[in-house]
């Protein structure tokens, strides 16, 4: 059991857990504790130090787009992202609820709404007070500066006028041939200009001081606004929820439509002539409406968890396309030096091309193949797939996937070629002795023997693909993590920075997990004890 566990841990590449397992089995406790200290406690401390430093340094660095978020703020942003997702899922559910559940839920929502009302008034009151307090405090601070500014401004402009007047006056007194005097005069004008400039600088500094005070955050106000926003957001959410449970509810809409249909049907049975025709038409139309309503779903906006899911689907789609191209070509390259020679220029030429270049090209080409996405068979087919359908795969998704493929396939291709080319001669001799045909030689000897290298390539490819994808989504505005980042950047709200930091961790974590998964695969296919590089 112990060894099985350790082996599993080893295959999964989670070797830092090994000492824990060993410790649990009471094996050399001292040594295991040391190992735990080194491989678990030290990294944890390092991370804690990182977070601590981050928390200490972040507030000191201010940009015009807001402060660098502290870990706490980032955590807040993460929970706000999650809340958004949760609430949207709730709204979606509410749309489809019916019967007793709907009524119960509605009652809860209404109750909460009524509870919120006084809270909101209070919050608004707080904001008003905080605002007033802030204004007085700012005015107090700014007041003297402004007075000084006005004073200085008046002084300076008076001084300037005076100097200018003196200069003008003296200009009339200049003797025509007195070169020295003229030079001195010129110098005076120069001094005047310099002085004016210096005075202007001084005023500017004062102004900057004032601006800084005005831009200063007022904690009371910030907190009041935060509270107000939280309540307002909840109210909005509950309002929408009550609509989705109330007259916006699908079941209620269907009931209403059904009632009307039945009424029409009853009238129709006794109607005659033109009226019968009109009614029949109405009934037919109503039937179609009911059909549509019954199939309708709440148009849910994209939330980060959904976008992550879509990004993963996109990166795997690209990865599969890339591998499907790279492995066969890599095998051919490895098998035939001639083919390799033919491919080398292409590989060398296309390998360094950036995703930023591939994406627009891919977009144009995909757009050419799918002129009308609404009616294209491929899009239709993808939309009806069980686990992928809801992601609304569109040309932008396909173009992003192709970009991922084009950027990531090179590692797999070169590694496959290398793996096939460097196959052990003895293994080939075995194939010769056995007189294996081409197909058997390929699938029983060549490919299995190069699998470890192919998987090493795939692992690099997936890593590259994941990095490229974010950029591709950002450019193609295909829904996904990249789009989320771009939207946040565009939002420019006070929490946008923090939300982008959340994405940094999410992307890093997912990248890590993907890499781990590939390591497991790599270990499973590698036939010797050589551990895959971490």
């Amino acid at each position: 059991m112990k060894y099985k566990l350790i082996k599993a841990i080893d295959v999964a590449g989670l070797t830092f857990l090994t000492p824990v397992v060993r410790l649990c089995y009471g094996e050399e406790p001292k040594k295991q504790l040391q190992e735990i200290g080194r491989f678990i406690v030290v990294p944890l401390i390092a991370f804690a130090v990182f977070v601590g430093l981050w928390g200490a340094i972040a507030p000191r660095h201010k940009t015009k787009s807001g402060e660098v978020p502290t870990p706490l703020v980032v955590w807040d942003a993460a929970s706000s992202i999650w809340r958004f997702h949760d609430r949207e899922a709730d709204k979606e559910d509410a749309y489809g609820l019916s019967g007793k559940t709907r009524e119960q839920k509605l009652a809860i929502v209404e109750k909460r709404l009524s509870q919120l009302e006084p809270l909101e008034t209070l919050a608004n009151q707080h904001v008003k007070e905080a605002n007033a307090a802030r204004t007085t405090s700012v005015e107090e601070l700014v007041g003297p500066i402004l007075t000084q500014y006005e004073k200085l401004d008046a002084e300076f402009s008076a001084a300037q006028t005076e100097r200018e007047a003196a200069l003008k006056r003296d200009a009339g007194l200049l003797a025509s041939a007195d070169r020295a005097a003229r030079e001195a005069y010129l110098q005076r004008v120069r001094d005047h200009a310099a002085k004016t400039e210096a005075e202007r600088e001084q005023l500017k500094e004062l102004k900057a001081e004032e601006t800084a005070i005005r831009a200063e955050k007022f904690p009371q106000l910030v907190n009041a606004l935060k509270a107000q926003t939280r309540i307002a957001e909840e109210r909005q959410y509950l309002g929408k929820l009550s609509e989705q449970l109330g007259h916006g509810n699908r079941t209620l809409k269907l009931d209403e439509q059904m009632a009307q249909l039945r009424a029409d049907q009853v009238t129709f049975l006794s109607a005659e002539g033109d009226a019968a025709f009109m009614l029949a038409q109405r009934i037919v139309r109503q039937e179609a409406r009911i059909q549509k309503t019954s199939e309708s779903t709440y148009a849910k906006p994209w939330t980060l968890p959904m976008q992550i899911y879509r990004s993963l689907a996109c990166v795997f789609a690209g990865f599969l396309i890339g591998s499907a191209i790279a492995i066969p070509i890599g095998v051919l390259c490895g098998l035939s030096k001639t083919f390799m020679a033919a491919m080398t220029p292409f590989i060398a030429l296309f390998k360094p091309v950036s995703p930023i270049v591939w994406l627009p090209i891919a977009l144009i080409i995909v757009g050419g193949f799918i002129p009308d996405p609404d009616k294209h068979w491929l899009i239709d087919f993808l939309a009806n797939l069980p686990l992928l359908g809801w992601m609304k795969i569109n040309p932008a998704f396909i173009a992003s996937a192709i970009t991922v493929a084009l950027c990531s396939l090179w590692a797999t291709m070169t590694n496959t070629a290398l793996g096939v080319a460097s196959i052990d001669k003895d293994h080939l001799n075995v194939a010769r002795v056995l007189r294996l045909g081409f197909k058997d030689r390929l699938f029983k000897i060549v490919i299995p023997s190069s699998l470890p290298l192919i998987f090493a390539g795939l692992r690099i490819s997936l890593g590259v693909g994941w990095m490229v994808l974010i950029a591709a989504e950002l450019l193609s505005s295909s829904e996904g993590i990249g789009k989320f980042v771009w939207d946040q950047f565009n939002n420019g709200a006070s929490d946008s920075f923090a939300k982008m930091m959340v994405v940094v961790f999410v992307v890093g974590l997912i990248g890590l997990v993907l890499d781990r998964i590939m390591i497991v695969f790599q270990r499973l296919v590698s036939f010797d004890d050589a551990a895959a590089a971490i």
Partner: protein, 287 residues
């Protein structure tokens, strides 16, 4: 007509200007069911010889004939057991044998094949290790697996390329006994390459020395007339055995000395020059 015939076979490598002749005019005849050991120093072209027999290499001149038929490509009728096992590391013990069996006996039914493979696994004492991968096996077990795979193809000729040279002495003697046992149970033509005179004397019917390369060729052959089964514990006291062993060893040392003497002429003479003193005159003064 002998079963295997090497008829004036020569083979060399490299481009015209810089050509190394590995084997020159090698002639060998092996009778059916005969166990021949080819003995030689390392680098003398032993592996090349076995590759020629297996058909993995084709001679520049001369012919390799089996049953009188000129060999142009390798095949499962000449089972070769490589020096470094040549096991497929991604396949288990069972899988390695299965690959060969499937290919050689494609018409075999699944159940029958399973039994057949198991028989060979049992034969080489690998029972219980069926699902182990080669890297989980010891050197001796790997060589046994290699043997089982080769035997499972039921070759007419068994070509053993220094099969035991990478093993420790104990494992080696154990395997020598096993190979001999299996051969005695199921006789066929064997050509074994080795660099161990004892091994050759112990196992073979005839010993053929290979002169040191380049331009290696086969020397005079020694018949081993020792009674079978041969028991290594008593053999050491057998005067015939001792005599034969000494004879072969001496012969081998002789041809080696000859080869070395021949090669002295090629030794590079170093020019007789004195190093120049490169220090500055002042430095010389100081010292």
């Amino acid at each position: 007509m002998a079963f295997i015939e090497l008829d004036n076979v020569s083979l060399g490598f490299g481009p015209d200007g810089d050509r190394t002749e590995v084997l020159t005019d090698v002639c060998l005849e092996v009778e059916e069911n005969e166990f021949v050991a080819v003995i030689g120093f390392s680098g003398s072209g032993k592996s090349t010889l076995i590759a020629l027999l297996a058909g993995l290499l084709l001679p520049d001149s001369g012919e390799v004939r089996i049953h009188g038929k000129v060999q142009t490509e390798p095949g499962p009728d000449r089972g070769i057991m490589f020096q470094n096992y040549s096991l497929l590391p991604w396949l288990s013990v069972y899988g390695n044998i299965e690959l060969a069996v499937k290919q050689v006996f494609p018409e075999m039914k699944t159940a029958e094949r399973k039994q057949y493979i198991q028989r060979y696994i049992d034969m080489v004492n690998l029972t219980g290790a069926e699902w182990k991968k080669p890297h989980e096996l010891s050197g001796g077990m790997r060589q046994r697996l290699s043997l089982a795979r080769t035997l499972s193809m039921q070759p007419e000729v068994l070509l053993l390329d220094e099969p035991l040279s990478a093993l420790d002495a104990l494992t080696r003697s154990q395997l020598q006994d096993e190979i001999t046992r299996i051969w005695e149970e199921d006789r066929r033509t064997v050509v074994m390459i080795t660099n161990d005179v004892d091994e050759a004397v112990l196992m073979a019917d005839r010993i053929v020395p290979l002169t040191p390369g380049p331009n290696a060729t086969l020397g005079q052959s020694f018949e081993v007339t020792l009674e079978r089964p041969r028991d290594r514990t008593t053999l050491n006291f057998n005067p015939d055995f001792k005599h034969l062993r000494n004879e072969v060893t001496e012969y081998m040392l002789d041809i080696n000395r000859e080869a070395k003497e021949l090669r002295v002429a090629d030794a590079i003479e170093l020019p007789d020059i004195q190093p120049i003193d490169l220090t500055t005159p002042s430095g010389r003064m100081a010292s």
